[in-house]
Subunit: 305 residues, 2 copies
């Protein structure tokens, strides 16, 4: 079933304790699209500037399931650019610079042929833009959004308006606490459900994720990675959402049990993102490898008897 993502496409520069990636393809939309494409065809709505490297288009195009008809190239604009540095524990990072570029301009157009999209993911951007984009998909079956601390702080009312239109929210644990002032992830998610959506997925990084849904609660550990295996966490959350939504679109399902299973696909897909800089981890894997790793994950997270 048709999956569509809209969000940022960026030029990322990432420093980690062990290395550096300069001006690589990044952004929430890029990670989501690459991760979801292993599970389902995916349509991209986004904008880049005239400075967008030809190489980045090639990287995008090397994922066969990604449709780039909704990718606008604005010759006289600049592409969104982000630089960050991870600390020793790989869980915390600081932003070194942000150049908004096209993100300060009107949102990208939605191609007419995309309007029948049923599974919609609004990757992190201004909630007003997310809401505007959502309005183009009247026949949607499942609309899910991500957000970030910035919007919780400066666009709280717009965020609450968006929440009322969504089926689900994917949010990290710090943001869930910031939004609700509740530190327990399950209790925070319940409070967010009162704001509108039917379900909330709280991403806890190395501690896994929880799903709180009108019809149940699910909990899942992270894929068990050694610290040595974690090379660059950038985009892991978007890859998680991509694996999740890609699975749901492929099954054309949005019930509690399917969403629970989708968390595992998100976890396993994102584990490849972590293992290399930028999109390299996803570029160098295959659907078969993802499926094999799912078996490893099921075995490691098995609860016998």
């Amino acid at each position: 079933m048709s999956l569509l993502v809209t969000g940022t496409i960026g030029i990322d520069t990432v420093h980690t304790p062990t290395g550096k990636a300069e001006k690589v393809l990044g952004g929430s939309c890029a990670y989501f699209a690459a991760a979801s494409s292993f599970h389902s065809p995916v349509r991209v709505v986004g904008a880049v500037g005239g400075d967008w490297p030809e190489d980045h288009r090639k990287v995008f195009s090397s994922f066969p399931n990604i449709c780039l008809k909704g990718l606008e190239e604005r010759k006289d604009s600049r592409t969104f650019a982000w630089g960050g540095r991870y600390f020793e524990n790989m869980n915390e990072r600081e932003t070194l610079f942000t150049e908004l570029g096209v993100l300060e301009e009107p949102p990208p157009q939605v191609p007419e042929e995309y309007r029948d999209s049923k599974y919609i993911f609004l990757a992190n951007t201004h909630p007003e833009v997310q809401l505007e984009l959502l309005s183009h998909f009247p026949d949607r079956k499942l609309a899910v959004a991500d957000t970030m601390d910035l919007w919780i702080n400066i666009a709280h009312d717009e965020l609450l308006k968006l929440f009322r239109e969504l089926d689900g929210i994917v949010i990290n644990d710090q943001e869930a606490e910031q939004l609700t002032e509740i530190s327990n992830a399950i209790s925070a998610a319940r409070k967010i459900i009162e704001m509108g959506p039917s379900f909330v997925v709280v991403k806890k990084g190395e501690h896994g994720a929880i799903l709180v849904h009108e019809n149940g609660v699910a909990t899942m550990p992270a894929y068990p990675s050694d610290l040595q295996q974690v090379i660059d966490p950038t985009g892991a959350g978007d890859s998680f959402a991509g694996g999740m939504m890609g699975y749901l679109a492929s099954k054309d399902a949005a019930d509690f049990r399917s969403i629970q299973t989708s968390l595992a696909w998100g976890t396993v897909t994102a584990s490849f993102t972590l293992e290399s800089f930028g999109l390299d981890g996803l570029l160098n894997t295959t659907r078969d490898e993802i499926q094999n790793r799912m078996k490893v994950f099921q075995s490691a997270a098995r609860i016998g008897e």
Copy 2:
């Protein structure tokens, strides 16, 4: 198969954001014994003072599977006493007072009839005492110990000596990091395995637990509890270890897969401890309720496909 625990028996006073429990039965040995007794008969080796309340013995005796022949009452000594206060998030606490009492005296005697014990748990106490007690069980099949930050700081060498004699270690994530200076739980556990034991279980509180074993890695989320359900976390870690070891003793098994399954029994058993002050959560539950909750946990932590 015979399970034995040795550790502290205390008079606990606990303050939480929602209430208070004064002078209740506590200590690592008490929580472990109560939790394990749902799965296996358990022998207790410990000491209390002349001030030990008769009520506490009654609480202990109300768990039918606990043998108290190894519980020494020292008329002229004082029972170990501990007071603590939990902060709003229920994950952190401060110690208000500690009265060591019998813990400053020679360790308890091991009754002759206990010497054939096969499954040994050395709950948290001075590693020298743990090592001395361990020497009484030449026929042991599985010896596991817990420890704490204090001993990592002040008895590091004794701890390393103990580790070389053990099959397994149960440790919380902060202590694992303190011991190894590695923040990733799996990497830290691998380093601890180099110190001697065949496996390490890292307890991560609300984030679950991981098992790193010579033969594999397992990962498990916590039982999904709302903040409202968490009344008093005291003893949850010892209850977890009790559920784990009780299951292993009941199966007479200590292979990787059995230990993996035992983590789930530990998780589910400990979830009852959290829900009331002191031992009340375990006092008010039954083997059937624990088994039912295991089904709920399996369903919530299920990884489909």
